[in-house]
Symmetry: C3
Subunit: 368 residues, 3 copies
Amino acid sequence: MSLQDFIDDQPLIDHHCHFLIRSTAENREKRLAQVSTEADNDYPLEDTKNRAAWWGFQHEANKFAVDSTDPLRNMAPDEYRAYNHKIFAHYHFETLLIDTGFIPADPVLDLDETADLTGTTIRPIFRIETTAEKWLQKTANFEEWWQGLQTEAAQAKANGYVGFKSIAAYRFGLNLTEVSKAGAQKAFTEWQKANSTRLVSPVLIKYILWNLAPVLLKQGLPLQFHVGYGDADTDMYQGNPLLMRVFLEKWCKQGLKVVLLHCYPYHREAGYLASVFPNLYFDTSLIDPLGPTAVTKVLNEALELAPYSRYLFASDASTYPEMYGLAALKFKEALKDHFARLDFVPELQKKEWIKMICHENARKVYGL
Amino acid sequence: MSLQDFIDDQPLIDHHCHFLIRSTAENREKRLAQVSTEADNDYPLEDTKNRAAWWGFQHEANKFAVDSTDPLRNMAPDEYRAYNHKIFAHYHFETLLIDTGFIPADPVLDLDETADLTGTTIRPIFRIETTAEKWLQKTANFEEWWQGLQTEAAQAKANGYVGFKSIAAYRFGLNLTEVSKAGAQKAFTEWQKANSTRLVSPVLIKYILWNLAPVLLKQGLPLQFHVGYGDADTDMYQGNPLLMRVFLEKWCKQGLKVVLLHCYPYHREAGYLASVFPNLYFDTSLIDPLGPTAVTKVLNEALELAPYSRYLFASDASTYPEMYGLAALKFKEALKDHFARLDFVPELQKKEWIKMICHENARKVYGL
Amino acid sequence: MSLQDFIDDQPLIDHHCHFLIRSTAENREKRLAQVSTEADNDYPLEDTKNRAAWWGFQHEANKFAVDSTDPLRNMAPDEYRAYNHKIFAHYHFETLLIDTGFIPADPVLDLDETADLTGTTIRPIFRIETTAEKWLQKTANFEEWWQGLQTEAAQAKANGYVGFKSIAAYRFGLNLTEVSKAGAQKAFTEWQKANSTRLVSPVLIKYILWNLAPVLLKQGLPLQFHVGYGDADTDMYQGNPLLMRVFLEKWCKQGLKVVLLHCYPYHREAGYLASVFPNLYFDTSLIDPLGPTAVTKVLNEALELAPYSRYLFASDASTYPEMYGLAALKFKEALKDHFARLDFVPELQKKEWIKMICHENARKVYGL
């Protein structure tokens, strides 16, 4: 089988994505356009439609349209289910690991329902900051709060979670040094007094991550980090994964599996880190569906130094199946380009690496 | 019409460039070589001539030469005017927006004279720091100084200016947070006592920018920023546009049009910012004439995430017409490459985007 | 002669590389695999073998194998010498400048022996931090220590050294500002009291570099810096060459030749610096053998702004000749790509630039 066909046929484990929405959600065209960008909904829709991604989304919608005369119209529930099945099956999506922390309007929250809607296997990811915020509201002091959070984290695997995710990069950045318990207690008290339950204290987030790391390690579960590319709410200057060096030095070397998500425009830095730290994995998700002209270049740059055993497919898609589809389409095109150019390496070895990237690495990291 | 021909025929608005010089300026070859680099004039001319840009400049000089036996010789005024007309017309330059803050030796300062020399329409850009320095010398205290600067800025549109420019990145960087009036007053007093009228105080520059922003907004005029690539005098480490996040969050969201100039090597970061902030525009000028082997790659990277409605052509050229010409030549080549590769998008839409980049975006941003 | 053949035939001066090892070293396959990555030896060998570099190393081993049925077996001393000669001769290595600071296990330390093993000319590079550490152990106070270090540095040229190297980026970073003597004396006292002779004080390293600079200048010897890409022990966030601006402003402008090594992923930044500072040189070594899929792209990016008179070939190889060979192979492929695409420039000029990059620049910088 040619390398091209081999890539087309590979099953995909999408190790980082989000909830889909219901067929009954209104304004399908507008919702589809809005999810073709990381901009907030107050960003001009006209500018969003002047991006390549929007045309990629439309391309997928046209290709799989239930009604070719009006591909962007809303669908009845059974049409919508068939449409989802068609797209996820076409690209051989096998499993979706859903980050439960981001919830679009009109979501399909039930994982079994999502499995039925898409025809894939669904596994959830445990969101650390959201859970920490929930325990703030349920407890009276630092000790109780930490006990609650830690206990819930320790039961994650038993409760079906296959990994954890931190959005430290959305709250202050990735300079994740070790902090004292006294410092964390003080920060907790300030948080209790604050007007918002939103966890933004760098000290407290660092405390949580350093102290949950052994809890994850014990369960053999990986820790995902948002890195780089995100919406206007992330300070991308502080989202450089090179800032994580002290954390990686400590925890990856002890056996904690760490997964860097998105990474753009720091994907070369992420690839470098994967090439020198054990147990460090990464992807270039989000750029796949939202920057379709970039995907081949970004994948090639990501793999300049990284082992093929450390790079994973992910879409970071949500809302509608076109986003997952476009991500898979562009990602597989980029794989074809990369492996066609690759010198020195026999085809059999290339096929091993393609399998790793599409599903085997994810299977190993998340214990699927 | 083919996409190639369509691109060749597009009129160009060069929304960021500088003064040309007189035909009577001496040492045309040396002046031409020196402007083919951002290095100071004490940089070895031999190294400058070992750059691709110098050969690009010579290529333009040869192509349009009045005297093909000696393309780099000085020209008589009428020859020189015809030569300028030939180059600007060949690349369909329609309008030049001249940043009046940089003045080469032997300049053509008069804008009507520049219009006559080039056969284009000329509009001026108001330079903030230079004007602030002028008012230091004309006033006795902070209140008077601020009154003078603010009043002149408020009359900019009435006086024919189509935009403002800040070179904060040349003075300290782009970390443009809000500061107090008391802090600004203190910094002003120190500035008065200093030996130099050069404005370098971060506090004062931040104060000016945050407090002139409403004055610009009221006139509907955009604010340009030097970003990234510049001469040895800029600290490019502090010239990363991601540092501007707080400023953009505040002012772009209120409606201020902000334009990031040059951006290299932070053009991916600039494109990302344009994709999540309203009213944010950018270009990759300066690399066009000075890094001719880079132009296609840089344009493709710049457009990975940005809407086509936010990216503008500019040369950042000065001194001689060859620099404007080389910028246009390489930019149009890069556009051809980009749009030839672009998936999913119908040719009609591609043509709309090409028009936006070449002139429509500039017309809208600067109200031309 | 075609440009391709011309490039193939160019002699190479490898201005930054390390010691080879003995034929008697055990586990040749494992040693070869381990040197195909910057990871420490506790990094999983399996991941190392899932990198493109490992296959590039094997490709060289197969191409030049003494025993084609077992290309990775250990060789007898005379076989090993013939094998080394064959590889270094095939790629026209003429001279190796050996950084004496890194010593692999089973090294060939004697430079004459290395010359005999490889059939090339060998010249040594003086390692600053290692020498400073040696003098700590030999002296009782700051004045004696500084006297010893300075005197040894002043005799470097007389002792056959052709350049100096600093690994400041491995100890704290590249923000190399000027410090006071009093500060250095205080830092020295703390160093004396510390448990380790490892020099890590930023103050002391800065003091050494600013105060040895005139000593180097007087001998006309260049100063190399580790920049960017290195093993997990370097904080690459602090390894950005833009941080060196104050040092370059002071010393390059006074005539000190500075050479930035490796640079990836900051090679665009390094190229920019070379385009605006006199006496600044750089390479993209290490990526050549360890990131073989990256070499063409990285070379093209490095040369976007830099003069051809400022960019040098280097492998940063050590241990086995395959690493030097793979670096040369990929580097020459990248040169072919770059010069085939280069517009405007006559072939004769291209050949001049190719000679500069392959050997002439190094000859000039190191006074060979």
